[in-house]
């Protein structure tokens, strides 16, 4: 705040001006403190349950501790070294990557196809279809997994029963090292494709209808409309969906893994998120688990940074 008074004015005027400035400053401070009071509950919760745990996890990762004993042993980088040499961690990383690619492919193609179809019907019906197609997304992942656990049952499950009807011997699904991870991906796709479906519906609705009308007047076919108008104008939405699904999608694997396979058979369906749970809450190796959690967070941070960079570019080029 500038207290400079005009030259030649009396000291009384100067004092009055400075008093006014002080009042203004005090009022601004009071307003700011008031603002912080409103922020306080959310800020306190966020600090205690999100940011402190991030730091605590990094600290724990340098200790060897079994969750119950009184003393923790400082082990330096040993947990990280062990982790990088462990078969389970490497396998889970590979599985997570594979599952992320599969999840991304499936939850981009199917939702786009459904969104295009849904927008072809009258609004009245459109809404009915939308509500039904989105319904798996609002039920609990844990309940969804209970249902699929039953459907995957090798003898009495509906999948293998149906396959038997057409003369095919179905796989053992969850206990087969070839099928377990894809079974988990299947459940995750079923449970989460609704998000991308709704995002695509909105993206499609944002494309001006005149473009289609003009192209149709010029004699374009449905295929051409899709190829030359829908796909390019939907590119920003697709980029958003691809990136968020690839980065956030693997987190959705946690519950299916916990309920359906516990990472088995022989780590075949494990992923990094479940590995942290397993190490911490089943093997009680808290430091080791925290090292894995910290590594995951760093990888995740890097991926998110890439996402932001790509999104930035998109804004420049997408206009």
């Amino acid at each position: 705040v500038s207290l400079a008074a005009p030259a030649g004015s009396g000291s009384a005027a100067l004092a009055a001006a400075s008093a006014r400035a002080r009042v203004r400053l005090r009022r601004r401070w009071r307003a700011a403190i008031l603002g912080y009071l409103y922020l306080a509950p959310a800020a306190a919760l966020t600090a205690v349950f999100v940011y402190w745990p991030l730091i605590a996890s990094a600290i724990l990762s340098f200790y060897d501790w079994n969750l119950v004993s009184a003393d923790r042993l400082a082990v330096g980088w040993q947990n990280y070294r062990d982790l990088l040499h462990s078969r389970a961690f490497r396998l889970s990383l590979v599985n997570t990557g594979e599952a992320a690619v599969a999840l991304t492919a499936l939850t981009v193609v199917a939702p786009l196809f459904l969104a295009v179809l849904v927008l072809k019907v009258a609004p009245r019906w459109r809404n009915v279809y939308r509500v039904i197609l989105f319904s798996p997304t609002v039920i609990s992942m844990a309940i969804a997994c209970a249902i699929w656990l039953w459907m995957f049952h090798p003898l009495y499950g509906v999948l293998n029963t149906a396959l038997r009807l057409v003369g095919v011997q179905g796989p053992a699904w969850l206990s087969s090292s070839d099928w377990a991870i894809w079974s988990i991906v299947l459940v995750t796709v079923w449970k989460t494709f609704g998000f991308n479906f709704v995002v695509y519906t909105a993206g499609l609705l944002a494309i001006p209808a005149e473009l289609y009308q003009a192209a149709r007047v010029d004699g374009a076919s449905d295929g051409q409309l899709f190829r030359y108008i829908t796909v390019p104008l939907l590119a920003p939405t697709t980029l958003f969906v691809l990136l968020t699904t690839f980065i956030l999608g693997p987190q959705n694997l946690f519950i299916p893994t916990q309920i359906l396979t516990q990472g088995g058979p022989n780590e075949a369906s494990n992923n990094v998120g479940y590995l942290v749970y397993q190490l911490g809450f089943e093997y009680f190796r808290v430091g080791y688990a925290s090292a894995a959690a910290t590594l995951i967070f760093l990888v995740f941070l890097a991926l998110t940074a890439v996402q932001f960079l790509l999104a930035e570019r998109r804004i420049h080029y997408g206009g």
Binding site: L54, L133, W148, F300
Partner: protein, 272 residues
């Protein structure tokens, strides 16, 4: 047109059937007798529909208690999330103290922190405070919501500035402006968001799994898993009956508020 409307409907009906089939199969199994469940036949409507699985579900686990726990936790978390995110969003959008941008960014960034990364320290904290198997331990850590603050800040920013100014000219303080002007003017958005909070918390599995091991303190999605691999194998009938009951509140909230829920998801998805 190359694709006739009839074909579009046909494809959509097939898609809908595929998508809802697991839920139909859940209900179908819940209504079947044990013999029929293990008959290995493909029958959507049971030959002899029975409610015995529902009865078994109610007696084999403390179903009503689990239901009550889920309801208490979901309602408390929803209310706390609504209030804390309203206050924070009000500060960020209207009071605007210095440093709010950093604060807001830190709130929104919580959406990007994977649960697996924070769960061990959070569990240790709740354990050290001796809050395992308590409602407090179940509820408080779940109240954090970057999403709610993000959505409400946007909503509050879209309010006409004259509305707030009129309140200030009338001599209302910030608290009165919030509850008499801002909240009533945005009640639809607040209600929609609360429905989302409720569905989300009702469905929550991992945090309750970690902090409630006591049979009587579990929430529904966690307690239900007890039917899985009980001695003598999984009790599929009662499991499906429990699942059928457990999905009702979330689906009901969704159907009642579906337009708002879908719209909220859209705006969340298209945040940039």
């Amino acid at each position: 047109m190359a694709i006739s409307r009839r074909w579009v409907h046909a494809l959509l009906v097939i898609a809908c059937l595929v998508v809802v089939f697991p839920m139909l199969w859940m209900i179908s199994t819940a209504l079947k007798s044990p013999n029929e469940i293990f008959a290995g036949t493909f029958r959507l409507w049971p030959a002899h529909a029975t409610l015995q699985n529902f009865g078994a579900a109610m007696t084999q686990v403390p179903m009503l208690r689990l239901f009550g726990n889920s309801l208490v936790v979901a309602l408390a978390v929803t209310a706390a999330q609504a209030v804390s995110s309203t206050l924070a969003a009000y500060a960020c959008a209207i009071l605007r103290p210095p440093g709010r941008h950093v604060c807001f960014a830190l709130f929104v960034a919580t959406m990007m922190v994977p649960f697996q990364v924070t769960m061990i320290p959070n569990y240790l904290l709740i354990a050290r405070l001796e809050l395992l198997n308590t409602y407090t331990g179940l509820i408080v850590p779940q109240v954090v919501t970057g999403y709610g603050i993000f959505m409400l800040r946007q909503t509050f920013k879209n309010l006409p500035g004259s509305l707030v100014e009129a309140g200030i000219l009338d001599g209302a303080n910030s608290w009165q402006v919030l509850w008499r002007i801002v909240v009533p003017a945005t009640r639809t958005a607040l209600a929609a968001l609360s429905v989302l909070f409720f569905i989300n918390t009702w469905n929550q599995y991992l945090w309750p799994l970690l902090v409630s091991s006591d049979k009587l303190m579990k929430t529904l999605p966690v307690g239900m898993q007890e039917f899985v691999s009980l001695e003598g194998g999984t009790n599929w009938g009662p499991l499906m009956a429990a699942a059928s009951m457990a999905v009702v509140p979330a689906l009901l909230a969704y159907v009642v508020a579906q337009r708002y829920v879908l719209e909220s998801f859209v705006s969340a998805g298209l945040k940039e």
